[in-house]
Symmetry: D2
Subunit: 347 residues, 4 copies
Amino acid sequence: MLVVMDAHATPEDIQAVCTVIEDMGLQANTMPGPTRTAIGITGNQGAIAEAARLKLMPGVRDVIRVTAPYKLVSREYREADTIIEINGVQIGGPSLVVMAGPCSIEGREQLLSTAEAVKAAGATILRGGAFKPRTSPYSFQGMGEDGLKLLAEARELTGMPVITEVMDTEQVDLVAEYADILQLGARNMQNFALLKRVGRTRRPVMLKRGLSSTVKDWLLSAEYIMAEGNQAVILCERGIRTFDDHSRGTFDLSVVPVLRELTHLPIIVDPSHATGRWQSILPMSRAGIASGADGLMIEVHPNPAEAWSDGEQSLLPERFVELMEQVERIADAMDRPIQGRTKAAAI
Amino acid sequence: MLVVMDAHATPEDIQAVCTVIEDMGLQANTMPGPTRTAIGITGNQGAIAEAARLKLMPGVRDVIRVTAPYKLVSREYREADTIIEINGVQIGGPSLVVMAGPCSIEGREQLLSTAEAVKAAGATILRGGAFKPRTSPYSFQGMGEDGLKLLAEARELTGMPVITEVMDTEQVDLVAEYADILQLGARNMQNFALLKRVGRTRRPVMLKRGLSSTVKDWLLSAEYIMAEGNQAVILCERGIRTFDDHSRGTFDLSVVPVLRELTHLPIIVDPSHATGRWQSILPMSRAGIASGADGLMIEVHPNPAEAWSDGEQSLLPERFVELMEQVERIADAMDRPIQGRTKAAAI
Amino acid sequence: MLVVMDAHATPEDIQAVCTVIEDMGLQANTMPGPTRTAIGITGNQGAIAEAARLKLMPGVRDVIRVTAPYKLVSREYREADTIIEINGVQIGGPSLVVMAGPCSIEGREQLLSTAEAVKAAGATILRGGAFKPRTSPYSFQGMGEDGLKLLAEARELTGMPVITEVMDTEQVDLVAEYADILQLGARNMQNFALLKRVGRTRRPVMLKRGLSSTVKDWLLSAEYIMAEGNQAVILCERGIRTFDDHSRGTFDLSVVPVLRELTHLPIIVDPSHATGRWQSILPMSRAGIASGADGLMIEVHPNPAEAWSDGEQSLLPERFVELMEQVERIADAMDRPIQGRTKAAAI
Amino acid sequence: MLVVMDAHATPEDIQAVCTVIEDMGLQANTMPGPTRTAIGITGNQGAIAEAARLKLMPGVRDVIRVTAPYKLVSREYREADTIIEINGVQIGGPSLVVMAGPCSIEGREQLLSTAEAVKAAGATILRGGAFKPRTSPYSFQGMGEDGLKLLAEARELTGMPVITEVMDTEQVDLVAEYADILQLGARNMQNFALLKRVGRTRRPVMLKRGLSSTVKDWLLSAEYIMAEGNQAVILCERGIRTFDDHSRGTFDLSVVPVLRELTHLPIIVDPSHATGRWQSILPMSRAGIASGADGLMIEVHPNPAEAWSDGEQSLLPERFVELMEQVERIADAMDRPIQGRTKAAAI
């Protein structure tokens, strides 16, 4: 940490700051300059909690933090990529994973037919929402436990692990009973009680990035889960909120190489929620894989026009086949086969 | 709702859209133009859920929604301002309310001395956090129930109603036992399970605006609470997240006149969290009142440099006195006395 | 400046960075810590241009700048507030200034009647656009020199100094011939050729903040003007572009106290462009003055519904009278009379 | 256009709006609904300029525009992709183009060696800045005409067309004398005088997206150029400004499929400026091509650590070779060979 003193700071001000730093058990390194003095702090193991205290002292202009506030999620803590394995499907390994399925579970026929269609095309994890976070209280709120049961049936039928969202601490046990992966939605990325609770389950957690989350916030939310003992965290970029209005969100693919440097956790990208336009999903899936992500999450619906939620951003099964064909070509160019594609499997 | 057809749409495309609209029990009003046809939909009572279905039909370029998706929160539903009264303190009435106190409750002495100081200066509601939403899992997480007990003791001592944050459904009953007003934080603005749960209590709820929340999202979250039967909702602007980095957030005071038109709910502004700089709190409190807000929420701490959270944005009690003096002059210029100021009380 | 080394940096990496710093004629202050070493740089007079060079050296994780990159605009360079005086009207002094008039000059009658109306209400500077920056090439582009002539006539008639926008280097001489203050629009805030050119005139310049300008960018643009020798620069906040869509822009009043600390230049706020809604102008004018701004810029039109530009955000003259009455009460509460109001003049 | 009346609007209000619409020579289509009436306007050829007038009428709640305000740039106006050809290099055709070179021209040796290196790797257009838009007046401002002469020499030597930025109307003739393509920078995207002026040259123009530009703003700026007669406009995405701080900007690749639908103009993406980190350029170049862009603009410097500008985001020539190899694999997967790559040329 660096304390920058004001140009008008007195020697007494500077001395007082040094004394406080030393009282914290740390070293103060005074660096006088022609216009102002800076004081470097060394000796700390992690981030310094008392930064605010220094910032309020007389003559202090700014306090600049240097140490990253997260630990378990960082590449410095663990250098090798985290690979999460569920029933033979790997997330974060050398090959790619595709999670697909309907936004909401709407019924047996809808879910099972979609599950079979996405499996045939090469998806290896089935998605489907039973508890739905909806902006309006008057929108369809999900089938609840009935939906979870259908999800379990679909897993039985197809052999695919299933991922579904959990919205509240009180639902965690129930959802964890049925789901192979717990999904935390963008609007709950900083629901700290929920983060802690899923950190105490032994289910992998996919943590979607909040609408206005910085990388630091996001990694600290992952740290909440890991600090409770659950090391199986997957990060999912799903679009951020900016001034831009051409699509539902701004799909921040440039976060992928940055995350790769900072963390060992697997990275999934979700072009369906990010763009909100089915026409953009195919090109942005290609781009997501080319940016270096470990996989995709895609919404597929047998009849998007009649979907109970997110129909505008759902793909017809036949278009999902086309997507998988195109993504496979990009995946080949990246030397990362898609798990679940016969051709890829044969490589 | 208005369906805008593509320039190349065929008469069959147009007819198909009209048929679907009529199948919904609504009227389709075809408006042919020189370059494209638009179809107005009438006959609906509220927002039309099936918009996505229309958007995906052949020849449809865009679907434009006209009806606001919220109802109970709207001025059209209830014309008169909602006034919430707690132990003789009014929120949303002709006179102004000031909520003040420490960010976190840190101990008996800290809370009680702050409570007495802010009361003496004219605050009428005491704030203090017992459960703290912190970005990092390694930061102080609040005193929990012990903090709530101290809050109740401070109420006893000063007579001031108390407001404190609730972060999770499982805490609602506990917090509601001690608090007069439940606060929902920015990061929980779209925690829909929590919104519903506090909607089923009979405590007033102060709903802070999310960091990237539009007015529509915010009002729909308030609608979640009201739809469960709780009509006592207070809106609190606390800064939004933008590219701007001079302050902690961007304090969006221009939302105040817009909310006034759209909703009957009371509006509080929080310059402490919005700016994150104690130097900005005084001028932005004046500005907040001048913009037409119904009151302020201000963080006060007897020793900000040693605060366990948010010290940088906390005011010393003596500076809070100065704030109240200056705000009172603005309040007078607005003909809205501050409840709790002797002079105002005398009016 | 502080160079933060990577946890894995070798002693040779650290030595190499120190050598480069010393080759620049500066001092390197090595601060070894338990996880990583930081190197403080001292001895520089201003910002260090070679930062990029250091950032690319082996073992360097980050380079943190400490020194503000601007100089002439800063409060450290000049402590006293800059006061600009034009024909007896002061901008940035103890009393407030109101600039008002139509968005575009549309004709003799329109301009002169507006000028007289705003003067009667207490405005002391007349605004009016002759060259208009319009998003669409098909929108009205302004009356050009004919408009400037009308502006000069209005000044003659009313005695008010006039402000008008200049959009291009080739127009600067022409506009400077007629205008008392040159306005640079938000979209030209980083038109560096234009900044330099107006810096070589002897007319005061009002520099509007760019739609996505940070404070640093804005002050550096002001520095461009001052570095050419023109010290009379006025800053004008007119709304920034964020995700927020309830108003035309997000009116960032919290920039006012921040600017006050960093710079000695006068600060004007423009609620007309910031909000784009005539209903918001009155409350946000009050808030702007309460935040500590030195004055307002307001659009007034005798018949907003027929205005050739920005009708939605223009006030009728009678509403402008109401605005001045309300703002005067706030101004009184701030002990800052409005120049041009009889009552204020009498103080 | 759709006029939405207030719930409380009277029949007289509605009639008055219809009369105004008919006075404009257009048709008013009244659509009464249970809560409010909407009035559809038909008969207009383009966008309706008088929208503001209607919005200010009594009883009007909102005016919703339907018609896109641009024309020449739109796919509806011209269905086939625009292909720009310069000395045998195509921009916007079936094969891809790579523009590369240093940020700033710093000298003969630097420019010529970079030009030869990027050509050898498969670039077909040389970039290099002679007039530099710099945030600070104290940063290097470019070599000016001397730089342009070096650019012409590099073209002579390598046969590559050259692109360089023009910052001001007064420089247009000079720059157009030397450059094959005129570049308009992000900060000048709404410098309307400059847009008009380059629209009157016969040089292709590459228009970079503004930092906070919507797609509509961007296309309207392109329309300014085309409306003056210059049909050769290239759009370049170079990162937008958002709350996100992990990279220099937020690289908005999801704009690519949206632009493809709306416009026939070629689309280039610039990962160097968008991310500001050389480590991100390689993955984001792959992603840019996979998203469907027509080409890349990349900064290359023989010695980034000593670059006079943008060293942090410049690639060493050897890394540019690696980039081209990886991008070629993605290009092959897209069936879009890179002009200038031997292998691609052989296909």
